[in-house]
């Protein structure tokens, strides 16, 4: 469920996503290059054609002279022929006398902007007859009678040939840019494919694996994938350890259950052979005790299995120890009814928070209470919840003989029963839960002299 959910939510192909990003980058790059090429081509075309334009203007300027006190000009055909090489462009010219009046040509031809007249030519862009034109002006100083000053010769042409050249140059640059981009895209797509190949190898290795094989992966991969392999192997290791633990636990559990069940079978046999009522009654009593014991054992085995699983989960919840104590007492009360025993909760008014797992803590506490009820308490059991300098604490006291210090560590192992009998799981569960919660587990004595076991928790972060 979870896995398919993740798949549907974030379904994408790494290959296509990378290819897409690369394609976009390449496209943007190609676009920028094309723009640059266009700007360059336009400048180059303008430079080339501006020379023709200026040349034509100079050809006309060469014919300037003065006749009868006025500026005269003899526009040479060659000047305009120079400009008609392209055969597509329109050509305009204008010759202005020093006073600005028209000598010949188009009177309203726009002139390129210029500062003072000089021997330098100026060029500029304008619009004329509804078309973009490029114009060039040159000056020639006349000092003849009646015509003294700078005579300006302006020649203009439409941009068709320039635009055609610009387009040609741009396209010329565009072809290699596009070819290079396509080449780069193909190469990068191949590279991505190659880069993803180790992942496919890992996938194949995992798929072909025996379902029971949890040994570390041994696949040849580049260093970049090492982290992934390490992570997979870590999971494998944990899984393997967990499975091993479960297996051992099941084996032990099976063994533990087999013994009392064999004993029950033997009792039933004896019941059959019982000669008189007294013997039968004794056997039935034994049988009943045995049955209760087996039930208890089974219960604890299951709860321990649960705890083992839960203890490895992340401790994310903030729980109130008082509440846990109440529930645990409620769980355990049934067994106290048979005896004249009081179970009492001693807790502050305010909540005592610890970071931990509700179910695991409750199970641990229930086991402590049951241990006290079963093996220790004469008349009373006290559950105390409190906050000390070291952190939150929960203790279970009883007025029984307690456990000797020498036996303490030993008893906390699984399936160790000690002198007093029992399933041997109770303290083991408590120990596991305490370890999972980074809690201490200690033997204590109450002021009343009652024997007790105390779990000391660290302060929950954010809840001091």
């Amino acid at each position: 469920m979870t896995i398919t959910g993740i798949r549907q939510r974030r379904r994408f192909s790494l290959f296509w996503r990378l290819s897409g990003i690369i394609a976009i980058v390449l496209l943007a790059g190609a676009g920028a290059l094309t723009l640059a090429a266009y700007a360059y081509a336009r400048t180059a075309a303008d430079n080339a054609y501006d020379r023709l334009l200026i040349g034509a203007a100079r050809q006309i300027a060469d014919t300037l002279g003065a006749e009868a006190g006025a500026v005269s000009v003899d526009v040479p055909t060659s000047a305009l022929e120079t400009l008609s090489i392209s055969r597509t462009d329109r050509v305009y010219y204008r010759v202005s006398a020093p006073d600005g009046s028209l000598v010949t040509g188009y009177e309203d031809l726009p002139l390129p902007e210029a500062e003072d007249p000089s021997d330098e030519a100026v060029v500029g862009d304008a619009r004329y007859f509804g078309q973009d034109i490029r114009s060039a002006s040159v000056w020639r100083y006349l000092s003849e009678q009646g015509a003294t000053g700078w005579v300006r010769v302006t020649v203009a042409q439409t941009r068709e040939a320039r635009n055609a050249l610009t387009l040609e140059l741009t396209l010329g640059a565009l072809v290699p840019v596009l070819a290079m981009s396509v080449l780069a895209l193909v190469a990068l797509m191949a590279a991505v494919q190659m880069g993803l190949r180790p992942l496919r190898r890992v996938e194949r290795a995992l798929r072909q694996r025996d379902p029971n094989d949890l040994t570390p992966l041994d696949v040849e991969t580049p260093v970049e994938v090492d982290a992934l392999i390490a992570a997979i192997n870590r999971v494998m290791g944990r899984l393997s350890a967990r499975l091993g633990a479960m297996q051992r636990y099941i084996e032990t559990s099976a063994h533990q259950l087999r013994t009392p069940l064999t004993s029950i079978a033997a009792q039933v046999e004896m019941l059959d052979r019982a000669k008189d009522d007294k013997a039968r009654a004794t056997t039935i009593a034994k049988l009943r005790r045995r049955t209760v014991e087996v039930g208890r054992l089974a219960n604890q085995l299951l709860s321990h299995a649960t705890i083992i699983h839960r203890a490895e989960a992340m401790l994310v919840d903030i729980v109130d120890l008082r509440q846990i104590a109440q529930h645990a007492i409620a769980d355990a009360v049934l067994e106290t009814l048979e005896r004249d025993l009081t179970v009492k909760l001693d807790a502050p008014k305010s909540p005592v928070y610890v970071r931990g797992d509700l179910v695991a803590l409750r199970e641990a506490l229930r086991n402590l209470i049951e241990n006290a009820v079963q093996h220790g308490a004469q008349s009373r059991v006290t559950v105390r919840v409190g906050e000390t300098f070291g952190g939150p604490q929960i203790s279970v006291f009883d007025d029984g003989p307690g456990i000797a210090e020498s036996q303490w560590l030993h008893l906390r192992q699984r399936f160790v029963t000690g002198d007093i009998g029992g399933t041997g799981l109770g303290l083991a569960i408590v120990t596991d839960v305490a370890t999972a919660h980074a809690a201490t587990l200690e033997l204590t004595r109450a002021e009343t002299g009652d024997f007790g076991i105390t779990m000391g928790f660290p302060h929950p972060e954010g809840h001091s």
């Binding site: 000009v73 040479p76 055969r87 329109r90 305009y92 000598v103």
Partner: protein
């Protein structure tokens, strides 16, 4: 001639200028009218109009013929004032056409077939030359002995120099101050070679007769008053030759200037699609054939017609010097240039 209405307009500029209008009703049911403003003899254009109407039965054509300057003035005025002038404008003054095109006063038209038009006769797909009109030497074949027939400009110069007693006062050419075509021919002659200067001096010394039209000189050659005419329209002369006139036609063997009558579609035409179809017709195989057989007798990529004295290498690229339609024609319209050229021409012609 199917219908003729001649109307004379008196214009405000003082002297009388003629504008003749002719109507060609459609052959079939009238669907559209095509207005042609031209400066071209009706005789040359009429076969083309009539043949065009055979291909487009619904088209009525109104054809108006006036002087080149007048057509040009009205065309450029209409263009600047953005009013309707005509659907098609036809003129032999290609410099006018160049100016109109340069000033954006022609509509672009992509020809259905471009094969017929050489590059020099098409500018920007806006102005199209549709005829092939060489400038020729004409002589009276009865009075000029074969040995005297000038085949080149140099030969003509020599003839005028060596036989002034025969030819003085009996040669004629265009008065370029009064003829647009004459001015163009003279201008390009001067551009092409230096012989032209000596030729002008020869004409001046020989007291050449100057006339504004080819027809006027031809008449005098046919009557024997003139013996030789220079730089005249070959198409017009060949028409007379076919009609039995006693003349001979020479394509100058050193080089022959060629002019192409031009047609364009003015802006704001009221029937631009009809105009486009007429242009396509003029430059189609069919239109060119009609022009070569009935109107102009010469044509693009055709050998000269029979009876014309042409050089053996008339097919060579350097033989014909076409007047290329393009911005360089603007020079011929340049006010200062024109005044200078005319002054030089007049100086040469008035040599005693």
């Amino acid at each position: 001639m199917r219908a003729l209405i001649a109307i004379a307009f008196t214009l405000s500029c003082g002297h009388v200028q003629a504008r003749d209008e002719y109507d060609f009703p459609s052959i079939g049911v009238h669907t559209e009218t095509l207005v042609i403003e031209a400066s071209a003899d009706l005789a040359a254009i009429e076969p083309l109009i009539l043949d065009f109407q055979q291909t487009e039965l619904g088209v009525s054509i109104r054809y108006a013929d006036s002087l080149t300057n007048e057509v040009f003035a009205r065309a450029i005025e209409a263009c600047h004032e953005q009013t309707t002038f005509a659907d098609i404008m036809i003129t032999s003054s290609v410099d006018h056409v160049a100016k109109l095109t340069n000033d954006g006063c022609a509509t672009r038209h992509d020809l259905a077939t471009t094969a017929a038009v050489p590059e020099w006769a098409n500018w920007r797909n806006e102005a199209f030359g549709f005829s092939f009109e060489p400038a020729v030497i004409i002589y009276n074949s009865d009075l000029v002995p074969p040995a005297d027939v000038p085949l080149t400009r140099n030969a003509l110069v020599e003839l005028l120099r060596t036989k002034p007693d025969v030819y003085n006062g009996r040669v004629g050419t265009y008065d370029i101050t009064r003829s647009g075509i004459g001015y163009l021919f003279a201008f390009f002659d001067a551009e092409q070679s230096s012989v032209f200067g000596r030729l002008l001096e020869g004409f001046g010394r020989a007291d050449a007769v100057l006339e504004p039209t080819t027809g006027a000189i031809l008449e005098q050659i046919e009557s024997g008053d003139l013996l030789i005419g220079y730089n005249l329209l070959g198409s017009y002369a060949y028409g007379r030759l076919l009609a039995g006139a006693p003349i001979g036609i020479v394509l100058p063997h050193d080089f022959t200037i060629v002019l192409s009558r031009a047609a364009l579609i003015p802006p704001h035409a009221s029937n631009p699609s009809g105009a486009a179809r007429f242009l396509d017709y003029l430059l189609s195989e069919r239109g060119q054939s009609v022009a070569a057989e009935q109107s102009f007798f010469f044509g693009f990529d055709r050998p000269p017609p029979d009876g014309v004295i042409a050089s053996d290498d008339s097919g060579a690229a350097t033989f014909y010097r076409p007047i290329t339609m393009g911005p360089s024609l603007l020079v011929t319209l340049d006010q200062a240039k024109r005044a200078r050229f005319l002054a030089e021409w007049q100086d040469a012609m008035s040599i005693p």
